[in-house]
C-alpha cells in the first residue's frame, strides 16, 4: 500500500526544543514566588514512625511548612502512598519540608527529630516465603493488582524437597494449565529442569521525577514528568485530591520513563499538596538517589522451568514457576506476564504456569520495559540453546520450529493473534546477519579472546482499543491534530498523528500537533506503556479523521448539492467526484462548520466519548470543523510486538569482559509507520538490553536493608564504550490486518531480544556454560572458567 506520509521519515516538531535547550521538562518551569521542597526519607527498611518533632525545623527563618502523611490523601494498603508513617524501604518519603531555598529546606530536615520503631524486614522473596522468614509488611507478604493481598508461607518441606540449586515450589498465588502435561513430557526426547535468577533493575531515567505545582482559582496546575498525557488525568487528580476538571497538567517533554512514569505516581502530587498548604508555588527537585528510591524498579525473578523437547526441538510440554519480587507495595503483574510470554513465544503444546508476587522491603516495583516479558526472554532463551546443544540442532532452527505464526495461540484460553511474523523476523535477520557463516566462528580464539554468537527473541502485547481521537480544521486552513499521547522520546505522538493527516490527505506542513498541556483540549488516549501507542493511537487518529472526512463531505453536499457520497477529498479540498471544479477548501468548510454548529463545530458530541474528551471538545467548540470519535473498530484478537536479535561478541576469558562486535535487531511491528523512529527503538532497546543482561545490578545489604547502589556509577547502565560503534536494524514490515494502516506497537521486545542474544552469546563463547542468572558479570565468568566457586548462593536475590 503506497502512502503519502505513512512509512516515510519526517522531522518531529519537538526535536528543535531538544537540540536548542528550549524544551521544558518538569524542573524547567518557574512561577513567581516559587519555593522549594525536599523530602525526608526513611533510613530504615521497615519501621513505624512513632513521633515527629518539627519544632526546631519550623523555627528556621524561611521555612514555610511541613507536609506529613496526615496532610495528604491515604490509600488502602498495599497501594502506593504519597507519604507514609510506616516506611517499607530505605528511601521511602515520610515527610516534605518547604522553604525559600533548597538549602533551607534541607537544613530544616536535618533539624527534624523522628522516633522510629524498627520492624522486621526482608530483601529476598524466598526468605519471606520460608516459614521462619520475616514478612515485608505486618499484614501480608503477597500483593499485586492481580491477586488478593494476603500472607502465604511455604512449608519447611517445600524447601527441603527442592534440592540444592532448585527453586522450591510451594503454594502459588495463581496458576493455570492447558493440554496434557504428563503426556507431553512422556513424548519428549529431552527434558530440562532449570532454576534461574533474573536480577532486578532500577529504571534510572535520566530525568528524575521532579515536579512543580501551584493553585489558581480552585484549579491545581501540575508540571510533571510522565510518559503519558491525558491518561494521567484521572489518577493524578485523585492523588491531588481534586476532580479531573480542576487539574491542569503540563508535560510537554519527559526525560525517559521506561514504564516508571507511564501512569500516575503518588510523589507527583507532593508539590500540589505543599503548595496548597503554604500558599506558594512549590518546586520539588528530586535527586538521583531519591529517583532510585521512588522511581521504581523491575521485578526480579526466582524461577524454574521444566521443558520437554522432541528430537526436532519442538516443545511438547512446559511447567513453569516464578517467584516475582513485588517491592514493598502493590507492584505490577510481571509474574503473570511470565506465563503468558512463554505461551506466546514458544507455543508449548501443553503448559502449566504457577506464580507468586512476593513483597520485599525494597523500592516500589513498577512496570519496566517488557515487565515480565523481558525477564522471561532472559530465562528461557538460554534454555533453548542448551536444548539445541544436547539435541545437536541449530540454535536458529530450534527457535523457528517453536516460534508463533499468525495461526498461533496464546495464554490459558488459547486465544488468537491479529497476526504474528516472528518466523519472518528470525529468517530476515538470519539472512542479513549471515547466521550460517557466523555460527562457524563460535569458539574461535584470538589470544585470550573467544568468539560467541547468539540469537534471541522476545514479545510484548502491542495495542489496545477504545480510546478517542480528535482533529480540528480551522478557518485559516490549518489542520490541528489533538493528541493525548505523551512525549516519552519515541516520537509516536507525531507518527500516529500523521495517520490523521494521511486519511485527510493533508499537506503535513499545514498540520499542527496539539499536545502536552491539557489546556489545548486533548482527547483521552491510552497511557504510553506496553508498546501500544503505534497501534492504539493509529486507530484513534484514523476514526477521528474519518469523522472529519464524513463531515467535510456532508457540508459540501449541503452547500453544493447532491449526497455526501458524491464527494471525495484531495489537495485539502472536498470536491464533487463527477465535476471536481465544484469544490470547497478545507478552510471554507471550517468556516461553514462554525456557522452550522451542532456536531460539525463541536457544539454537540457523541455520548460515548470519555468525559475528558467531552471536556476537550466543549472547550474547542465553535472554533472550526471538529472530527471526534471513539475507536470502536473490531478488536477480537491480540496484536503482538515481536522481535529477534542477532549478536557477535568477543569474550576475554582472562578478564570476563565481553565486547560486542556486531548487533542486528529485527522488528515485527506490522507496517512500519516511521522508519527512523523504529531504528531509534531497535537500537535504544538493545542498549538497555545489554545492560539488563550483563552489567546492571540491584543490590541491597541483607543485614541492614540498605541499598548498595543508588546511582549511575553503581548500577552501571551502558555507555558509548560498552556498545558497538555501529548497530543495525531491520523490520518485517508486513501489515497487521486489524490495524487501519497495518501498524502495531514495538518498544519493549526490542530490549528483550538483545538481552537474550547477549546472554546466549556469552554462554556460546564459553562452550555452552549457562549461568541461569543475570546479570552475567565478569567475575561470574572468570570464576566459571577457572572452575572456582561463585560468590553468590544459588537462587539468592538482590545480594550480588
Amino acid at each position: 500500500m503506497a502512502y503519502d506520509l505513512i512509512g516515510k521519515n519526517f522531522t518531529p516538531p519537538d526535536i528543535y526544543g531538544k537540540v536548542t535547550g528550549k524544551a521544558k521538562y518538569a524542573e524547567d518551569f518557574r512561577a513567581d514566588g516559587m519555593v522549594f521542597c525536599r523530602l525526608l526519607t526513611s533510613p530504615m527498611p521497615h519501621a513505624k514512625v512513632k513521633k515527629i518533632d518539627t519544632t526546631a525545623a519550623l523555627k528556621l527563618k524561611g521555612v514555610l511548612g511541613v507536609l506529613t502523611a496526615d496532610d495528604v490523601p491515604a490509600f488502602p494498603p498495599p497501594n502506593n502512598p504519597i507519604l507514609t508513617k510506616e516506611p517499607l524501604y530505605v528511601g521511602e518519603p515520610i515527610l516534605a519540608v518547604a522553604a525559600e531555598t533548597e538549602q533551607l529546606a534541607q537544613d530544616a530536615i536535618d533539624l527534624i527529630k523522628i522516633d522510629y520503631e524498627p520492624l522486621p524486614f526482608v530483601v529476598d522473596p524466598l526468605d519471606s516465603l520460608h516459614p521462619a522468614g520475616p514478612t515485608a509488611r505486618l499484614d501480608g507478604n503477597v500483593a499485586n493488582p492481580r491477586v488478593k493481598y494476603q500472607t502465604i508461607k511455604w512449608t519447611a518441606r517445600d524447601f527441603a524437597v527442592a534440592g540444592e540449586g532448585n527453586l522450591p515450589m510451594g503454594k502459588p498465588a495463581a496458576e493455570w494449565t492447558y493440554g496434557d502435561l504428563e503426556a507431553g513430557f512422556k513424548e519428549a526426547k529431552l527434558v530440562l529442569d532449570e532454576s534461574f535468577v533474573i536480577g532486578a533493575q532500577g529504571h534510572h531515567c535520566m530525568e528524575p521525577r521532579s515536579a512543580m505545582a501551584y493553585w489558581q482559582n480552585g484549579k491545581v496546575f501540575v508540571f510533571g514528568s510522565s510518559q503519558s498525557q491525558t491518561a494521567m488525568i484521572p489518577g493524578l487528580a485523585r492523588y491531588c485530591g481534586v476532580e479531573p476538571k480542576d487539574l491542569v497538567y503540563v508535560a510537554e517533554y519527559c526525560g525517559g520513563g521506561f514504564g516508571s512514569k507511564g501512569t500516575p505516581y503518588p510523589q507527583m502530587a507532593i508539590p500540589a499538596h505543599m503548595s496548597r498548604k503554604v500558599g506558594r508555588p512549590v518546586m520539588m527537585r528530586v535527586s538521583r538517589a531519591e529517583e532510585y528510591a521512588i522511581g521504581q524498579g523491575r521485578a526480579g525473578f526466582q524461577g524454574r522451568i521444566k521443558v520437554g523437547f522432541r528430537a526436532d526441538g519442538r516443545i511438547t510440554a512446559m511447567d513453569a514457576y516464578v517467584v516475582a519480587e513485588n517491592g514493598a507495595n502493590v507492584g505490577f503483574w510481571d509474574f503473570e506476564n511470565f506465563g503468558h510470554t512463554l505461551s506466546v513465544v514458544y507455543q508449548p503444546l501443553a503448559m502449566r504456569w504457577q506464580g507468586i508476587p512476593v513483597l520485599t522491603n525494597t523500592p516500589f516495583r513498577g512496570p519496566q520495559r517488557g515487565p515480565g516479558e523481558n525477564q522471561t526472554a532472559l530465562a528461557m532463551e538460554p534454555i533453548l540453546d542448551k536444548a539445541a546443544r544436547k539435541l545437536d540442532l541449530d540454535r536458529l532452527a530450534i527457535r523457528m520450529i517453536n516460534a508463533p505464526d499468525s495461526g498461533g495461540k496464546h495464554g490459558e484460553k488459547r486465544e488468537n493473534f491479529t497476526s504474528a511474523f516472528l518466523k519472518e523476523a528470525l529468517q530476515k535477520g538470519a539472512e542479513r546477519f549471515k547466521w550460517d557463516e557466523k555460527v562457524k566462528l563460535s569458539g574461535q580464539r584470538r589470544g585470550s579472546k573467544v568468539i560467541g554468537v547468539g540469537v534471541g527473541s522476545a514479545f510484548h502485547q502491542a495495542g489496545f482499543n477504545g480510546f478517542d481521537g480528535l482533529v480540528r480544521i480551522t478557518p485559516d486552513g490549518k489542520i490541528h491534530i489533538h493528541t493525548g499521547v505523551g512525549n516519552l522520546g519515541t516520537y509516536s505522538y507525531a507518527a500516529t498523528s500523521r495517520v490523521a493527516a494521511e486519511v485527510l490527505k493533508c499537506n503535513w506542513e499545514n498540520c499542527i500537533i496539539e499536545r502536552g498541556d491539557t489546556r489545548r483540549g486533548l482527547p483521552f488516549n491510552s497511557p504510553q506503556v506496553g508498546s501500544n501507542t503505534s497501534y492504539t493511537q493509529s486507530r484513534t487518529n484514523f476514526v477521528a479523521a474519518m469523522d472529519a472526512k464524513a463531515k467535510l463531505m456532508q457540508v459540501a453536499a449541503k452547500d453544493l448539492g447532491g449526497n455526501p457520497d458524491d464527494y471525495d477529498i484531495g489537495g485539502e479540498k472536498v470536491f464533487l467526484k463527477s465535476d471536481p471544479s465544484k469544490s470547497l477548501t478545507y478552510a471554507a468548510v471550517a468556516q461553514r462548520a462554525i456557522e452550522i454548529g451542532g456536531a460539525f463545530s463541536g457544539k454537540e458530541a457523541p455520548g460515548d466519548l470519555n468525559p475528558i474528551t467531552q471536556a476537550a471538545v466543549a472547550g474547542l467548540a465553535g472554533t472550526g470543523l471538529i472530527g471526534v470519535a471513539k475507536d470502536k473498530l473490531a478488536f477480537e484478537a491480540m496484536p503482538p510486538a515481536l522481535a529477534a536479535g542477532f549478536i557477535l561478541i568477543e569474550l576475554d576469558v582472562e578478564t570476563g569482559q565481553h565486547k560486542i562486535l556486531e548487533y542486528l535487531g529485527v522488528a515485527d511491528c506490522g507496517t512500519v509507520i516511521h522508519p527512523m523512529g523504529l531504528a531509534t527503538q531497535v537500537k535504544g532497546g538493545a542498549v538497555m538490553g545489554f545492560g539488563l543482561a550483563a552489567t546492571e545490578r540491584y543490590v541491597l545489604d541483607p543485614q541492614i536493608g540498605i541499598p548498595a547502589n543508588t546511582g549511575f556509577l553503581g548500577q552501571k547502565p551502558m555507555s558509548y564504550l560498552d556498545v558497538p560503534s555501529e548497530m543495525h536494524w531491520d523490520a518485517v514490515d508486513m501489515a497487521d490486518p486489524s490495524s487501519p494502516l497495518g501498524s502495531r506497537g514495538i518498544g519493549e521486545p526490542l530490549e528483550g531480544c538483545a538481552a537474550a542474544a547477549l546472554v546466549c552469546a556469552i554462554a556460546d563463547a564459553m562452550g555452552g556454560h549457562y549461568f541461569n542468572r543475570t546479570p552475567v558479570m565478569a567475575d561470574m565468568i572468570v570464576n566459571a572458567i577457572a572452575k572456582r566457586p561463585q560468590s553468590y548462593k544459588a537462587l539468592a536475590a538482590n545480594t550480588q
Binding site: 536548542t20 533510613p43 537544613d107 533539624l111 534510572h204 522520546g489 538493545a686 543508588t710
Partner: protein, 230 residues
C-alpha cells in the same frame, strides 16, 4: 588522539589575583583557600563544598537532629560577573552554588539539565573556555574570567541552528532529549579541537555523556555528519 585533553589537565583558577578583585568590590570576600587552585576533579570539588557548608543532597541515614549541620542556614550571596554565551551577566551567587544551579535558577538558562548532580552522567555538560565541564560540579565563584557556553549559546542571534544542532535533527539523534544538550556540548568541543575525528574518537570524547534511551548510534551518526559537512 593527541588533541584530546584528559580531565585532570583541566584547571580553573590557576592564577587569579584575589586581592585585586576584592579591591574592585569592597563587600566581596575571597573564597576559602581550598578553592584557589581548584583542579576540576570530584574530590577537590566535594572538599570545597564541605568547607563552605553545603548540605550534600544524598540519602541521609541519621535519625536525630543534626544541629551542627545547620550553620549555613542563610548563606550570603555575592554579586559577581559571569560571561555566559558571549554576554556579561551580573548575578548574586552563594559561595557553595554550582554553575548548573546558577544557570538554571538565576540566569534563566534551563537548557542545561541535572541528571545526577554528582558528576556521573554528563547531562549538565557546558563548555568553559571551550572545554567540557560538569556544571553540577563546578562552583560558579570558581569561574572568574572564564567564558561559559551553554546549549542556548549555540544558535546564531537570528535563530539559525548551529551545524551540530542541525546534524542532530537530521539524524533523529535525540530520543527523550534530556541528555541531548550535554551530548551536543561535548560534540561541539570535540570538533573545535579535532575537526575530522574518527568514529572511535567521537565515541571516546562523548563517553562521559550517559544516555538511558541508548541513542548512542544516532548521536555518533550526527557527530560524524557534522564533521563531514563542516
Amino acid at each position: 588522539m593527541d588533541h584530546y585533553i584528559p580531565p585532570d589537565a583541566r584547571i580553573l583558577d590557576a592564577d587569579v589575583d584575589y586581592k585585586a578583585l576584592a579591591a574592585q568590590d569592597p563587600v566581596w570576600t575571597p573564597p576559602p583557600p581550598q578553592l584557589r587552585s581548584l583542579r576540576a576533579n570530584r574530590r577537590e570539588f566535594i572538599k570545597g563544598v564541605i568547607a563552605s557548608g553545603t548540605a550534600v543532597s544524598a540519602v541521609s541515614y541519621t535519625m536525630g537532629a543534626r544541629s551542627a549541620q545547620a550553620q549555613n542556614a542563610a548563606a550570603p550571596e555575592r554579586l559577581i560577573t559571569v560571561n555566559v554565551n558571549g554576554q556579561t551577566r551580573r548575578v548574586d551567587v552563594t559561595a557553595n552554588e554550582t554553575l548548573a544551579m546558577t544557570l538554571r535558577y538565576k540566569l534563566g538558562l534551563t537548557g542545561t539539565k541535572l541528571g545526577c548532580d554528582r558528576g556521573e552522567c554528563g547531562a549538565c555538560t557546558v563548555l568553559i573556555d571551550d572545554v567540557p565541564h560538569h556544571s553540577c560540579s563546578t562552583l560558579t565563584h570558581a569561574l572568574r574570567g572564564r567564558k561559559v557556553t551553554t546549549i542556548e549559546g549555540l544558535e546564531s542571534p537570528n535563530g539559525e541552528l548551529h551545524p551540530m544542532q542541525k546534524a542532530f535533527v537530521e539524524e533523529l539523534a535525540p530520543q527523550c532529549g534530556f541528555c541531548t544538550p550535554g551530548q551536543i556540548m561535548s560534540a561541539v568541543a570535540l570538533l573545535k579541537v579535532t575537526p575530522k575525528p574518527t568514529r572511535d574518537e567521537a565515541r571516546l570524547a562523548l563517553s562521559g555523556n550517559l544516555c538511558r534511551c541508548g541513542a548512542y548510534d544516532h548521536y555518533l551518526n550526527a557527530v560524524m555528519r557534522a564533521a563531514r559537512e563542516a
